[in-house]
Symmetry: C2
Subunit: 146 residues, 2 copies
Amino acid sequence: MSAAESAVETIQREMTIFARRARASAGRMHPELSLVSYTLLGHLEERGGCRATDLAAHYALDKSTVSRQVAALERAGLIERRLDPEDHRVQVLHLTDVGQEILAQVTRSRRAAFRERLADWPEEDLVRFAAYLERYNAGPAGADSD
Amino acid sequence: MSAAESAVETIQREMTIFARRARASAGRMHPELSLVSYTLLGHLEERGGCRATDLAAHYALDKSTVSRQVAALERAGLIERRLDPEDHRVQVLHLTDVGQEILAQVTRSRRAAFRERLADWPEEDLVRFAAYLERYNAGPAGADSD
DNA sequence: ATTTCAAGTTGTACTATACAACTAGAACGT
DNA sequence: ACGTTCTAGTTGTATAGTACAACTTGAAAT
């Protein structure tokens, strides 16, 4: 096996390990927020509000799934729905102040975890690793956009 | 923000994206085998058979979860249970021929997907990326061993 | 105006998961 | 040797996240 083939094997294996671990901890990532909720909230923050349909399309989730997630997030007071005056079918979702705070808090705690894990990496390696990951995720294979 | 901090941000973000995608596709990874089943079968192959309890410990799953997964895999004819003659509480799990075949098939198709995704990467980058991932996964933070 | 399309909700079902209660067998301590 | 405690595994029950299908409501198009 060539060095390239063996590297691909390793990448496959390590990505699988990471995926399994992430899956295992996705539910208990934070008492307030599952991985999916966190992602949805993050998207809302980035975009400054969007429709449930946009979330569904962006994350390749069924609209019913998003509907229930959104309902839960609203119940928890993290987001609010604003009826679009232009189109009464549409509800534009926005983070509430509480939602922003919780999101920031989870982001901080995740960031701390990553920082700690990567604490002893030389800067040069961090930069290269980050670039590789971006390149990998941007790659052609994933049918799902980010 | 320093280059190192910004790289850590990127690593966090890209790992989150990867985790979410992996989660989304974990169920429909292969008609025969979910990500978890694949991992369990892989472990069985590596070890040449082991107990359900070992699988549970290794992957930080509840024994009841493993029990049901194992039952499903047995029903599907991919593994078989052999009663340990030394200790009648213990069932040693082994891949069947069919199980080995399916595992090999899924491994091949996953490998092909990774190869395709990484097809245009220079060998040097593949090798470095593989090393970074290994280092990341081997890191101290993960409470769960691999 | 009627048909068709789009956004969202609700009913139903399935999978993966955990925790708790249980069964069966093994090991230990007096 | 016999009861206590430990271990392996199963089963009952509950929850979360997901999808698909049927439905409601509103908008657009012919």
